[in-house]
Each structure stands twice: as structure tokens, then as C-alpha cells.
Symmetry: C2
Subunit: 238 residues, 2 copies
């Protein structure tokens, strides 16, 4: 009824959590965080409330508890295999990513693509094939199929440089992907597009990308191995 509705309660544990986060952000690993009883005093809340706040930061990996000693800023966790787009990947390498569309049209899904996208063969898919450049030189040929049902009007809209951005705008930024990575020799067409000799060794990445539970993209990317090294971080379960 009144304007308080947007934030119905103060959520004390959130207040405590964000206060501690602001203290701790940017601090060196090993710096002490306020003790729980100190936060109880400062905020005038029960200790269980403070613990709830700290629990969240601990499970986030920001803090580390040491019984009998106190709570401290944890060393940053190692990051495991983040999912990035070509554009983001090139940016991370300090290169400028550009694209040239080779083909963009509506097609009927073949059996392989249909299975990977979790649709029925013959269903509509968007077939988008692009040359990918980094610092003005050929880097990769990307051949992608997208689930048309999830992307109405995609081909009519102005084609963006970043597929991930376009998907993100529809709330479909991929959150998970499985890649199958192989090595091959460039055929005549690939060699021509990549501006290498036919038979040159290329790196081939076949990707199936999902946004939440929904498969959105299946693609095959052929990289120039002389310009591109794929970096992967692997870890045990967090």
C-alpha cells in the first residue's frame, strides 16, 4: 500500500553482511575481520544474526574462520574454467575482436543439430557463420546454430558483433558449455578464409552452450593454431 513495499524489511543480516563486505573488500588476505561479538555490539543484533551474515561471506570464499583466533580475509579462490565469448576472450588477450558474417539464415535442423539443441529435426534454427578477426587478422571460422524458438526476430534485428551480448539481451546468456576440442588440418576453404596454407594444423572447438537448462547454441569453431592457444583451468569440486 505505501512505498515501503519495495523493501519490506531491513534484513539485518544483509546489513551486517554488506557492512563487513565493504570493510573487507580490497583488504589483503589474512587481514582480520571484525569479531562476531563486536558486530553484535555495533548493530545491536543477536549473535546468530551476525553468524548468518558471516556464513554467507565465508561460503562466498571472502572470509575464513579460524576457531579460537578470529575471522580473516581469505586468499582469493582459484577460478575454474569461466565461460567467455570470442569477443571477451580476445579482449582478455588484449586484442580487438571483429566479425564478418559469411552466412545468416533460417534453416531446418538436421538430426545432429536438433539433438544438441534438444529440439526435433526439421524445427527452425538460425544458421550463422562468421569469420572472426583479432587485431585485423583472421583468427577463427565460427559456424553456429541457434534455437530459433528462443530467439524470435533474431535475423531481422541488426546483427550484433557479440552473440553472447545478443543472447544476454534476451536473458539467454550461456551459463554452461561443453566443448569437444580436436586438432585437424585446414581444408581448402578453411585455409583460404584463415589465410594459411592448406594442410596447416588448426584447432577445432565444437561447443554446446546452455542458458540455465536450455540449450541455445551449438557451434564449431576452427582456430588458427599459430595465433591461438586455448587456456583451460580445471579444479576439483569447489
Amino acid at each position: 500500500m505505501d512505498e515501503v513495499a519495495a523493501t519490506p524489511r531491513s534484513l539485518k543480516h544483509v546489513a551486517v553482511r554488506e557492512y563487513v563486505r565493504s570493510l573487507v573488500e580490497g583488504a589483503d588476505a589474512g587481514s582480520p575481520a571484525p569479531s562476531e561479538r563486536e558486530l553484535v555490539q555495533r548493530f545491536g543484533v543477536a549473535r546468530m544474526t551476525v553468524r548468518q551474515a558471516m556464513d554467507a561471506l565465508v561460503s562466498e570464499g571472502l572470509l575464513e574462520r579460524m576457531p579460537g583466533r578470529g575471522t580473516f580475509v581469505a586468499r582469493p579462490r582459484r577460478r575454474v574454467g569461466r565461460l567467455t565469448s570470442f569477443t571477451e576472450d580476445m579482449e582478455r588477450r588484449g586484442m580487438l575482436a571483429e566479425s564478418q558474417t559469411l552466412l545468416a539464415r533460417r534453416e531446418q535442423a538436421g538430426p545432429g543439430v536438433a539433438k544438441a539443441l534438444g529440439i526435433t529435426p526439421g524445427d527452425a534454427v538460425i544458421h550463422w557463420k562468421r569469420m572472426r578477426y583479432a587485431d585485423n587478422a583472421p583468427m577463427c571460422i565460427e559456424d553456429a546454430y541457434l534455437n530459433e524458438v528462443l530467439l524470435p526476430g533474431f535475423l531481422q534485428a541488426a546483427m550484433p558483433t557479440s552473440l553472447f551480448d545478443a543472447l544476454a539481451a534476451r536473458g539467454l546468456r550461456p551459463t554452461w558449455a561443453e566443448d569437444a576440442i580436436t586438432s585437424d588440418k585446414a581444408n581448402a576453404e578453411e585455409a583460404n578464409l584463415l589465410q594459411v596454407q592448406p594442410g596447416t594444423s588448426v584447432l577445432v572447438v565444437a561447443r554446446r552452450a546452455l542458458a540455465g537448462e536450455k540449450p541455445v547454441e551449438v557451434s564449431r569453431s576452427v582456430y588458427r593454431a599459430d595465433r591461438f592457444t586455448l587456456w583451460v583451468q580445471l579444479g576439483e569440486e569447489s
Copy 2:
């Protein structure tokens, strides 16, 4: 002093947690877990204690809370890029992994290896080069350097098939690795060992593996691309 020392306290929240885990393990996703108040009754504990138990299972990804409805078995989380050994990898592919040592000796670390292992050039390293077979056919040439300081007497001991097992026995099973994946043409020696034509396209994986904070292994593996596809799962932060 007496035999109770091994389990000094009953840890009620652990008892509740493991009880719920046993109920829930193997159950279908979406099945209801006992309600919190039901567990309060059954165990005669406070609700906060039950919540502590359930919190653990929720953050493990085993349970999912739905306010106003209850707590349910969560759908299994997607796994992100697990770190496996060659032996485990081949087992997962339903193939029999075997090895043949080509070289195993103590050496002085060169600058590149030293940097990767976080030691000083000239420090002792173990250089271990092996042929890796899968189902009795060549699959990979693995050329590894290990930090000798962490593995005293490694060369004197019987050389195991699985490096990961050997490291695990010393509490040094790698928990994190960064791979740099490229594609190349087999040179004469590689072609001979892999039993392919020289110039055949091969997949090259350069790995740096850490156990906790300690770099233990740096290696370069050359795979037959016609027999091997590398699978990688990528995800956003959990």
C-alpha cells in the same frame, strides 16, 4: 584418555544432516525432504540446529528450499571441468590405459620449468617421459617435470602407472591445473612414437598442476588427434 576421545561430542547438527542425507541420497529430484519442524520433533533439538544441518545440504547442492512449500531434493548440479589423470580419463572413455617409460631421471630445472614449478633454476626436478597407450595403441606422449623436493625417493620407488596415484599417496594429488591447448604437426620423433605419418595433426596440452598451493607437475602431452578428443565443461561461478 578413554576411547570416547575420537568423537568428543555428538554434534547434533551432524547427526541431523547425515540422517537427512541418507533419506535423500538416491531419491529423485523434486522429492520432499522432511520439514524442519518435523526434524525438530524427531531429534528433540532446536530449530536453529536443524537449519544448520539443512544449510549444509543446501549449499552442497543436495537440497533446495522453496519458501512456503518445503525443502526438496535438488536436481544435480552441472559439473565443471574436473581434473583427471590420463588413467582416469581413459577409464571414463572405457579404454585400458597403459604406460611405457621412455625416460626417468633427476635433472636440474631450466628457467621455464623452474618458473612453472615455483623453484629456482638449477634446483632438482624429476624428468619423466612416457608413452601412453589406450587399448594397446599409442595415444599420447607425455613429458613431465616434477618438483623433486616434494617427492623424495620418487625415482627409487617402483614407478607406478598413475602419476596421480603416486602423488596422492604423498598427499599431493593435484587439485587445480591450468592447461594451454594447441594444435601442431607431429615431428619425426613424435610420428614414430605415435605410429602416425609425420606431419599428422596432433593435439598438444601443456599443463601446470598444483596440489593446494604447491605446483607439483608441469607437462607437455602430445595426443593423436585421430584417437583423442578433449572434453571440457565450462561454467559461470557456482
